[in-house]
Symmetry: C2
């Protein structure tokens, strides 16, 4: 493809027919449709061999978990709980039926953690690369869906957990490194479970209207949220939740540009600050990293000065890392 992923999505969006039953279409973590009893979310997310993963790093069991987690993450990001999912697998000749069992065992494990039920899908051959594509349906449980388009001027910008863990994990895999203190990074890469406990607190206390998951890197993803909300963002580098080992290893850039953390990025009005701080004190990690402003784009400040970031993150076409 000769165009970037953002451009491609804009192109595809032009083919979307309008309907007043579609509360949110292309351009968010998931689509929201109005059924007679309320809003439901539909998402679909694929993982392709040699693009998203290598079997030399990731076991089929973990891959199954990850494929479910990334879809659960999209469902949760919209303020919904997962209900059902379907799976298409494209099986290349290298996969054995034991691998397929491990893959489905991983999916079942991850799905059970969130109450999602496998109901169908498609099994097909693939001549070269293996792929897995999951579609998932969930029910919105927030007052209205959480969308990338709902950030408002003056909102704080916050993120759950730590950033850059998954990219650091991939880096370790590539270098063949492991060991005790590094396990969490490898695991964040190979089976990134969405941070469900903190999500539940955020939803319970009605903290946010604008949420998404960090899948392609903070800068790209926050940039997308600002585009959808027609706002700009200022974030402070010193406030980013960067694991100390990334600082030591000179990999702080992963916190800005590393993909696949599957933490939640959200904004909230200032009158919710006290509640957010209370949630944090109760052991649910949330970092307030910046603020929504008039304008557009994402500005990163470090010690009061604007940082220039060479590589913004993972775009699937045109702008590879």
């Amino acid at each position: 493809m000769e165009i970037s992923e953002n451009k491609l999505i804009r192109k595809i969006k032009a083919f979307e027919d309008k309907s007043n039953k579609v509360l949110r279409g292309i351009g968010d973590d998931g689509a929201v449709v109005q059924l007679p009893t309320g809003p439901y979310v539909l998402v679909q997310d694929a993982m392709v061999e040699h693009v998203h993963f290598e079997f030399s790093f990731v076991d089929p069991y973990d891959l199954g978990k990850k494929a479910v987690y990334v879809n659960v993450s999209d469902i949760l990001s919209m303020g919904a709980l997962p209900l059902y999912f379907l799976v298409t697998i494209g099986l290349n000749p290298a996969l054995t039926s034991r691998d397929v069992s491990r893959l489905y065992r991983g999916m079942r494990q991850a799905a059970r953690e969130f109450g999602a039920i496998l109901i169908g899908g498609d099994t097909t051959e693939s001549k070269n690369d293996f792929f897995i594509d999951i579609s998932m349906m969930g029910k919105v449980i927030t007052k209205s869906y959480l969308g990338r388009d709902k950030a408002r001027e003056g909102d704080f910008i916050a993120v759950t957990g730590s950033l850059g863990e998954s990219a650091y994990g991939l880096h370790l895999f590539k270098e063949g490194r492991g060991g005790k203190g590094l396990k969490r990074f490898l695991k964040r890469y190979s089976s990134p479970k969405p941070p469900y406990p903190v999500w539940k607190e955020l939803v319970k206390h009605d903290i946010t209207r604008a949420m998404m998951d960090v899948s392609d890197g903070l800068l790209i993803d926050l940039g997308r949220m600002m585009t959808e909300s027609r706002k700009g963002a200022i974030i402070h580098f010193e406030r980013l939740p960067i694991p100390s080992i990334l600082r030591k290893d000179n990999k702080e850039i992963f916190a800005l540009s590393g993909g696949e953390d599957y933490q939640f990025l959200f904004t909230f009005p200032k009158n919710k600050l006290e509640t957010v701080q209370r949630i944090t004190m109760q052991g649910h990690p949330v970092s307030i990293i910046g603020e929504v402003i008039q304008g557009k784009g994402v500005k990163v400040l470090s010690k009061g000065k604007t940082l220039e970031i060479p590589v913004k993150g993972y775009e699937h076409f045109g702008n590879p890392q």
Copy 2:
């Protein structure tokens, strides 16, 4: 894979968690879930380059139509009308952004014919083969869903339209043949629109409880229906709706083993015979090809004698044509 598709699906079915909200899970054209306002159908069906199609035969526009049609076909087969769909495309380097536009234009065209609305999905890179995977949601409009498990002893077995058209179309493509009288076969292969008018009549007159589409060939598909219904079938070769050119060209076998016709295969009780005949007389082609019996398997009779069929149809693993 060292096992057949049927075996693989049985294996996968073991990973299905039970729920009383899942009215029908793995093993049918689609899954049926009970939402508070009624039953909905969810389906997901992929097409992979070099497995399901070649770009040398199929233009991206037709491919987009076909990808939607095969999912619509699954939705209709369950007694439902399509509502929404999501699309994952795995884009290999050979595809241009113009191809992608044509692909989505085809999808939109096919979707509009059935009132389905594109709401989302995923765009990803693929290093080798292009793939498209669509998930679709529909609402059941029949009294209860139409399932492969609902054929009853004594039911007639019937099929809409003609059989073998799509396989003959593929055969013509491979031989580089075309011309006036052959167009319908090429078209049935490249964009097999589900026979909506006859489906509407069948549903309106409450003809059937057991329906599926013919996607992998009559023998394999009818065999699956009989397995799910724990019954057997006898069909009469002379009653199969085989286009005369297939007979002339000695390709009658395509009517039994050719895939991708996307006609509807269904059973109905004898007291509906008169209504079915009336529907046929009104120009909606339905052929009564056999009967459901006690036992198992599918027996094909020709002039009273059992036919032995060497190749039963298209199975995605183990048993290639």
